[in-house]
């Protein structure tokens, strides 16, 4: 049988996507469906004095109007947070209530106050416009740093000072001592800019209630339908889980923003029973800007201590993380366990201390966004290392080399709670330097200078913890769920295979990658494999897709189920060949017996499994259908080296990315084309964060960048052709040897771009610039310096 693993197979799902035949939530209509429009607060902070629903109910076509009071009266609970962070001194984080519809207070622009349900979307909009809400506007605060100041407006009464938790990791005394004793200490203050996710498909949800069986169905734009079912049923609506089906059909991108259980999902599900009709809600783009969980938003102070040779002796980091107005599903874990635990980077820094304060503000909730915590960590490390190199007069590649964890040091235990299983950082950096022609950079800099342009080069050597997550570790760190994955592999009697996976695909290409993996393991043609995902009634269980976990964890669950299929197949084959199962071998789709010429194809065995005319019932069960749960032993640690070159026009501050080289170590690759596609997108998002995307709130909490007129997304024109290569150290603890590739680009890129940009601006005396480094900011920095010089 032809091998598929390692092939650049075209994505099987693209046929339907490219011809407009995908089925997204908004494409689905239910008989008797109604339309929901949410009435949202225009104020960042206000008391709700009254809501007059009659004015909306009087609008033609309006079927029902519900408010937070109606939900409270039905005993509906708040949206839960899935991760409890325990702060300094054992103090647990404070978790204020998060009602799906605000009850007496609104806490961000976009906070939902009521839902209007009507025969048409237009009638629902009319109703929403007619609804009268009397607000008592209160002072608001949008910046996390300002929210901690005394006298700042309070977001929740139960969170005095707005601090959700004050958490630490690492040995503070040892770090302070090392800083004290250091030859040199580099300090760096930074803002990791807040981002708005902007998946191409806005969120949507359809709630349906069937009184015949007392069953609910929620169709929703989710990365993890089982997680939504669990959270919504158990915490919000108190529906028995077996009475609720959650379907996530084709989903047009998530980037993390579709992990979370959102208010609208609970509201349409609850309202479908209340109104006795299916209820559909589709976000428009403006609503998406206001209500999809945002990403990043850190303010950080960092210190890196080193000896006279530039060997790092300690790192100290203090971060203020904006949580927004409420704790979104995984918000609390992002700036802690997905951030501070990564602060060792690729280096042997012996002691590290991190302190993180998570703060409520009157802004949209903030949660995981592509990379989630790891881009923030990489930005801290890779910027401060670059600055340190400049201060020490060392080549940025040299300082990194000097501090890399060496290949023979794995498994390597970092001072911030992780154990890296494998890696070869030197190899990826060497390859990246070669591929980017780093050695001749100065020539290119001179060429640019001749044209009046400033050119710079920047490196970034990132590491991430993916394959989220070993449940035991996650549980010890406060996760309220396990983070394994489930799969079922089912043969049909005629030998075709359906794989039911808990990993959800919303752009990642699982229908191809998983089919390649399955086909090779079973020795069958890839066309005979179908990948099924996104439906709690069809899939045994699933924790979903995020944290670059699908192949490493979900794929491993599939492999585990396949292994069970093979064990069972051996038994059936042994029975058919009248041999002992222990003597049966399986290779490339064929069961055979050593030392004989007896063999059977897996298709023949599958057929017999379903036509068991002479099975000994006490020994052999009919059917060929196995399921498995896979819980990883460790995280996986993808890593790589990126080299970016930019050119700046000093007259206008325009900055173009001229060259971008990425050398990644993702372990074993199943489909290199899909992997490259993931990195392409990730780098584009990283360039977006570095140069373009910046979410801006006014001081009083109005979202200033609330549309594409003001929020700049990366476009094709902003992105150069990439130079790519891979180095490979297979993951040591999963059966595939894969590490995950979905987030790497977004993690490694921002530091590479800003390192390059600040390198370009150095000649003009500019040594730092905040993201997004827009033409205006670059021009201002250059000009401020010119004026200072005059």
């Amino acid at each position: 049988m032809a091998k598929h693993v390692g092939e650049r197979m075209k994505r099987v799902e693209d046929g339907r996507f490219l011809t407009g035949r995908g089925t997204y939530t908004d494409d689905i209509s239910k008989p008797g469906q109604t339309y929901a429009v949410f009435v949202r607060s225009p104020h960042a902070h206000a008391k709700i004095k009254s809501v007059n629903v009659d004015s909306a109910l009087n609008v033609e076509g309006v079927v029902a109007v519900y408010t937070g009071a109606d939900m409270a009266a039905d005993g509906v609970g708040g949206l839960p947070c899935g991760w409890q962070v325990i702060g300094k001194g054992g103090t647990p984080m404070i978790e204020p209530a998060h009602p799906p519809l605000a009850v007496d207070t609104v806490r961000y622009v976009g906070d939902a106050v009521a839902v209007v349900i009507a025969e048409t979307k237009n009638a629902a909009k009319d109703g929403a416009e007619a609804l009268e809400v009397d607000y008592d506007v209160q002072p608001a605060v949008a910046s996390a740093v300002k929210a901690m100041e005394s006298g700042a407006p309070q977001v929740h009464d139960e969170v005095p000072g707005n601090v959700c938790y004050d958490w630490e990791l690492g040995d503070k005394d040892a770090v302070d001592k090392a800083i004290n004793d250091a030859h040199h200490v580099t300090t760096f203050d930074l803002v990791n800019n807040r981002l708005i996710p902007n998946a191409i498909e806005p969120r949507a949800a359809i709630g349906e209630y069937d009184p015949a069986g007392d069953n609910y169905t929620l169709t929703t734009t989710s990365q993890n339908p089982h997680v939504i079912r669990l959270l919504m049923c158990a915490f919000v609506l108190q529906i028995p889980e077996h009475k609720c089906r959650v379907v996530a059909p084709d989903v047009g991108g998530g980037f993390g923003s579709k992990i979370f259980h959102y208010a609208e999902e609970a509201v349409v599900t609850w309202a479908s029973k209340k109104a006795g009709r299916p209820v559909k809600w589709t976000s428009d783009r403006s609503e998406a800007f206001l209500t999809d969980a945002h990403g990043r938003d850190h303010v950080t102070k960092a210190q890196l201590a080193m000896d006279k040779d530039g060997k790092f002796t300690a790192l100290k980091v203090a971060t203020v993380a904006n949580m927004g107005a409420y704790l979104s599903t995984f918000a609390s874990s992002i700036p802690t366990y997905l951030y501070a635990t990564l602060l060792a980077g690729q280096y042997t820094t012996p002691v590290i201390y991190a302190e993180v304060k998570a703060v409520f503000t009157h802004t949209t909730p903030v949660d995981a966004y592509r990379g989630a915590g790891r881009p923030e960590a990489t930005y801290v490390i890779e910027r401060i290392v670059e600055i340190a190199a400049r201060e020490m007069g060392m080549d940025p590649a040299e300082i990194r080399r000097k501090n890399f964890i060496q290949p023979d040091q794995f498994p390597y235990e970092t001072p911030v709670a992780l154990t890296y299983d494998t890696g070869n950082y030197q190899a990826s950096l060497d390859r990246a330097l070669e591929l980017s022609d780093y050695a001749n950079f100065e020539k290119r800099r001179e060429e640019s200078a001749k044209n009046g342009k400033l050119r710079g080069v920047g490196l970034s050597c990132y590491i991430e913890a993916c394959g989220i997550a070993p449940s035991a570790v996650a549980g010890a760190l406060g996760a309220r769920a396990g983070l394994y994955e489930a799969a079922e592999v089912r043969f049909a009697p005629t030998g075709t295979v359906s794989v039911f996976t808990g990993s959800h695909s919303h752009g990642q290409g699982h229908e191809t990658t998983f089919a390649q993996l399955t086909a090779d393991r079973l020795g069958i043609p890839v066309e005979n494999v179908d990948i099924v995902h996104g439906d709690t009634d069809r899939i045994p269980f699933g924790m979903g897709t995020y944290g670059s976990r699908s192949l490493a964890v979900g794929g491993s669950a599939i492999v585990k189920a396949i292994d069970k299929i093979i064990v069972k197949g051996k038994k059936i084959a042994a029975h058919m060949m009248e041999e002992n199962a222990d003597d049966v071998e399986f290779d490339d789709g064929v069961f055979s017996v050593k030392g004989t010429n007896k063999s059977l194809t897996i298709g023949e065995v599958a057929f017999q499994a379903y036509v068991p005319h002479n099975f000994p019932h006490d020994e052999l069960e009919p059917g060929l259908d196995e399921s498995a749960f896979y819980d990883p032993n460790n995280f996986t640690y993808p890593a790589g080296a990126y080299v970016c070159e930019v050119e700046v026009d000093p007259d206008t501050g325009e900055c173009t990315v001229e060259k971008f080289t990425a050398v990644d170590d993702f372990g074993n690759l199943i489909n290199p084309m899909i992997v490259e596609g993931q990195v392409h997108g990730g780098i584009a998002q990283g360039i977006g964060q570095a140069l373009l995307e910046g979410c801006v709130y006014s001081d009083d909490g109005q979202l200033v960048t609330g549309s594409y007129m003001d929020y700049a997304m990366p476009r094709a024109e902003h992105i150069p052709d990439y130079n790519f290569d891979f180095t490979t150290t297979p993951c040591t603890h999963n059966p595939i040897g894969a590490k995950g590739c979905g987030e790497a680009g977004a993690i490694g890129t921002p530091a590479a771009v800003i390192n390059a940009l600040t390198d370009a601006l150095r000649v003009a005396g500019v040594d730092n610039i905040e993201m997004p480094a827009t033409p205006l900011k670059i021009w201002q920095a250059l000009n401020a310096n010119k004026q200072a010089a005059e």
Partner: protein, 264 residues
């Protein structure tokens, strides 16, 4: 969208009649600006009169020293026109820099200038090349057309039928695009004409204007250094998240210098 009546006009006369000089009637051309505005419920016309299908308002003609473009001609048609590329390449270039291909396939010159977005590109050409805007009832000089932010000399129900551009000796358009919207943060049209140098600026102020200081400088010395040497005042320039007034002022000179360099 709120409900409104819709009428598709077969001719400019029909369109004007259908509008009846009313403030509550809006013309629809490419719909690239009007339809999003309607969808966001930011405007509530009683009636929309579609002029996008009027054949007489489409097309490009060159006669003598004038290029005339029908008001309903799309940006893509202007950008791709061999006649325009030959007579006023700067105008074809400007049209090719508007939005993206989809927008250029729908958006029209009449809709663009009637809308008078301070960040739109065409106004730089209308002012910088000294165009004449022809309506159903009169001709309006390019210099007088844009009156304030989103305001023009048009009266309610007045329909632009075409825009005529005198052919300059040489011209070039330079644009510094807003990183988010792609509209002009600053756009500068520099034209060398037999009557002197004209410099039209869009994106920088509440509406398009002529940079007379740069015109004067280039009048005596048509060089990029001369343009660059002019320090534009930032008074009355737009100030927003993406560009401060000072930045815009500086970029006007820079872009004018680039245009002069491109002209050669």
């Amino acid at each position: 969208m709120y409900n409104f009546d819709y009428e598709k006009a077969a001719s400019a006369d029909d369109a004007v009649k259908a509008a009846g000089g009313s403030d509550d009637v809006m013309f629809l051309a490419g719909g690239m600006t009007l339809i999003p505005t309607l969808k966001l419920r930011l405007t509530q016309p009683e009636k929309v009169v579609d002029v996008g299908g009027i054949g007489d308002m489409k097309g490009i003609s060159v006669s003598g020293d004038t290029v005339t473009i029908g008001a309903a001609t799309t940006h893509a048609d202007v950008a791709g026109s061999d006649d325009v590329k030959k007579a006023i390449p700067a105008l074809a270039k400007l049209a090719s820099l508007i939005g993206d291909q989809q927008v250029r396939n729908r958006g029209t010159i009449g809709g663009s200038i009637a809308n008078a977005d301070p960040a739109a590109d065409y106004p730089a050409a209308v002012v910088g090349l000294g165009a004449t805007v022809k309506t159903n009832k009169r001709e309006i000089a390019g210099d007088d057309f844009f009156t304030a932010m989103f305001e023009t000399a048009l009266e309610p129900g007045e329909l632009i039928t075409s825009v005529s551009f005198p052919v300059p000796e040489k011209a070039d358009y330079q644009k510094l695009a807003n990183p988010a919207s792609g509209y002009a943060m600053v756009g500068v049209m520099v034209a060398k004409t037999k009557d002197g140098v004209r410099v039209g600026v869009t994106g920088a102020g509440p509406s398009a204007f002529r940079a007379s200081a740069i015109e004067d400088a280039l009048g005596s010395d048509f060089s990029s250094d001369a343009a660059k040497g002019v320090t534009m005042s930032s008074d009355d320039l737009n100030n927003d998240l993406h560009a401060t007034a000072e930045y815009r002022a500086s970029c006007i000179s820079t872009l004018a210098a680039r245009a002069v360099k491109a002209i050669g």
